[in-house]
């Protein structure tokens, strides 16, 4: 027999209590894993951002447009490789519950700057030629059973009216983080109608996307771009795509902070659950610890036995929780609207955090009973009535 066997047998001494504690830890790890997955999914856009892309937007607010005339000026800035632009269309497809991102983009340049969309060349070519055409993400097409040649009708809100768009291309995402629930159509198509129907809104660009040669120069190029439009009626704010995405997330920062906080509160709760179990176990075994000390086992031996038992329970709970987290996150993802998160999966960092948390909980939960066992005098242990 080895000490490990004693540790394992001790862990299983009260099967119901150990099972309930393991289950409690597993449930907490699942809750932790799901919450962390939501938080990491929220940040996936930031993680996926291309450092070579800059976003130029209105300095006051993203909702205010920039003039189309800025395009040529931005192109002239040294270090700029290519410039494209886009508008947020908004609108309604069928009804308001069918949310997905709809953009009016510069058909000729947009997919050069965003190379993460795999579009068959013939489909891209057709799209570029037809002003009232659109390109859809593969998940979007699948969700609404759309295929090449179908016509989608959008009801505009930011851009009022009925907008009919023929599907001419379906892209597949190049990376896991690429959102496959987007719709792109011609900025020109919007602009033409605005010129006729809402004079004064023609030439409005939502934002420019600047592809630069070297990410290391993003700061200076951003400054140069913003300097071009200083003191103009539409000053710009240029930042990297990552910072831009981060800015979006800031609007939800209270929710994310709450989730982060709750996920760590859960760790605290499982620590208390396991700590309680370990204190009860150690209390019940005070006499046995006295016997072991009498036989020559040192305080360190006892500390090792208690720590081992705590770790066995926490690791079992952690592993069970992790194993269940995968199918639960998968099931949870079915209820999240498509397009809300491009990636919703258990990340390695979540696994590392959950395992570390389980180990940490095991270690901390054992500290108090360990300290008691170390300090316990043999004669006091024999006198102890639990």
């Amino acid at each position: 027999m080895k000490i490990l066997k004693l540790i394992f047998k001790n862990s299983m001494r009260h099967k119901l209590r150990t099972s309930l504690t393991v289950l409690g830890i597993a449930i907490a790890v699942i809750a932790f894993g799901v919450l962390r997955t939501v938080v990491t999914a929220w940040y996936s856009g930031v993680d996926a951002a291309n450092p070579n892309r800059l976003i130029v937007r209105q300095a006051v607010s993203f909702i205010f447009p920039l003039p189309y005339s800025y395009l040529e000026k931005i192109k002239q800035v040294p270090g700029v490789k290519q410039v494209t632009y886009a508008n947020w269309f908004g609108g309604i497809y069928i009804d308001q519950s069918n949310f997905f991102a709809r953009y009016g983009v510069d058909a000729d340049t947009y997919f050069n700057v965003y190379n993460e969309y795999n579009i068959p060349p013939d489909e891209l070519s057709t799209f570029k030629k037809e002003r009232n055409s659109c390109i859809l993400g593969s998940d979007l097409a699948k969700k609404y059973h759309l295929k090449i040649g179908d016509v989608m009708t959008l009801e505009g809100d930011i851009y009022p009216g009925t907008w009919e768009l023929a599907v001419r291309g379906i892209y597949t995402p190049k990376y896991k983080t690429t959102d496959a629930m987007q719709m792109f159509f011609h900025w020109d198509y919007i602009d033409e109608r605005m010129r006729v129907e809402m004079p004064g809104r023609e030439g409005d660009v939502g934002w420019y996307v600047v592809l630069i040669n070297n990410a290391a120069n993003s700061g200076s190029i951003s400054n140069q771009i913003d300097a071009l439009f200083k003191n103009s009626p539409a000053e710009t704010k240029t930042e990297t795509e990552g910072t831009f995405q981060q800015g979006f997330i800031q609007s939800s920062s209270a929710i994310i902070t709450s989730m982060n906080f709750i996920s760590f509160v859960i760790i605290g709760i499982i620590m208390l659950v396991l700590g309680n179990t370990m204190i009860m176990s150690a209390r019940e075994r005070t006499r046995e610890y006295a016997v072991l000390k009498t036989l020559g086992f040192s305080g360190k031996h006892l500390a090792g036995i208690i720590m081992g038992e705590s770790l066995v329970i926490s690791i079992l709970g952690g592993l069970l929780g992790l194993l269940l987290t995968y199918p639960i996150v998968e099931g949870f993802s079915q209820f999240i609207p498509k397009g809300m998160f491009p990636v919703f999966e258990v990340k390695t960092i979540t696994v590392v955090l959950a395992v570390s948390a389980a180990l940490l909980v095991g270690i901390i939960a054992a500290l108090f009973p360990m300290q008691r066992a170390l300090r316990m005098k043999i004669v006091e242990g024999f006198r102890f009535v639990g």
């Binding site: 000490i3 004693l6 016997v291 036989l295 020559g296 040192s298 031996h301 005098k377 004669v379």
Partner: protein, 227 residues
């Protein structure tokens, strides 16, 4: 026979809040190698405390205890633990076996602290269990054994490291008459055949009669010596 245990001017007291409670007063005691002595006396007289001090599981407030040439009152906790594991075998009133371990595993426990190989440990454990007559119960858990059998497993655990001294605190206190008799016979055998020095605390005059010598304690004083 040489004196294996020498107790000199031993004083022990406990503190309850700020009140000092004396338990043993100026005890002097010599025990020779191979002797079987019984400590008797009423509850609270200090028998168990004296046994604990002789076996190194408690420390005296004053005085010296020399066991087999070592002044154990001066040893550190860790040195004392090591010393106990190789010099003293313990038998308790309530057996104090680990319930989740089999008879074999319980007896093997003290050997886990030695450098013996698994095969050597097995040999020692089987020998000890055969001496106490439980060679056929090695895979039984304590709850599957009678009280007398549990105490025999506890004795096997006490002798498995071949200590020179056995200390027994009311070893028959929780047993019926027959089982108690078996245990006492076994202890006599350990004393006579294996030359173990035995110090036994008991309330039972019949158990004490098996000893070579009886020492009486009353209110912390060693008051009477009888042979």
């Amino acid at each position: 026979m040489t004196e294996i245990i020498q107790v000199r001017n031993l004083y022990k007291s406990y503190w309850r809040d700020s009140i000092e409670i004396p338990v043993l007063n100026n005890i002097n005691l010599n025990i020779k190698e191979g002797e079987f002595i019984a400590l008797m006396g009423p509850s609270g007289s200090g028998k168990t405390t004296l046994l604990n001090l002789i076996s190194g599981i408690d420390k005296p407030s004053r005085g010296e205890i020399s066991v087999n040439g070592t002044d154990i009152s001066k040893l550190s906790e860790s040195a004392l633990a090591k010393w106990r594991s190789s010099n003293i075998g313990f038998v308790f009133q309530f057996y104090n076996l680990i319930p989740v371990l089999t008879a074999y595993e319980n007896v093997e426990l003290p050997l886990l602290l030695t450098k013996l190989t698994k095969a050597e440990r097995r040999q020692h454990v089987e020998t000890a269990l055969n001496i106490v007559g439980l060679g056929d119960r090695i895979d039984h858990y304590p709850k599957q054994l009678s009280g007398g059998q549990e105490q025999r497993v506890a004795i096997a655990r006490a002798i498995v490291t071949d200590p020179i001294i056995l200390v027994a605190d009311e070893p028959t206190g929780d047993l019926d008459k027959n089982s108690a008799s078996e245990i006492l016979t076994l202890m006599e055998r350990l004393n006579k055949e294996f030359n173990k020095t035995i110090v036994m605390v008991t309330h039972d005059p019949h158990a004490a009669s098996k000893a070579h010598m009886i020492r009486h304690l009353e209110k912390g004083d060693l008051i009477l010596e009888a042979v």
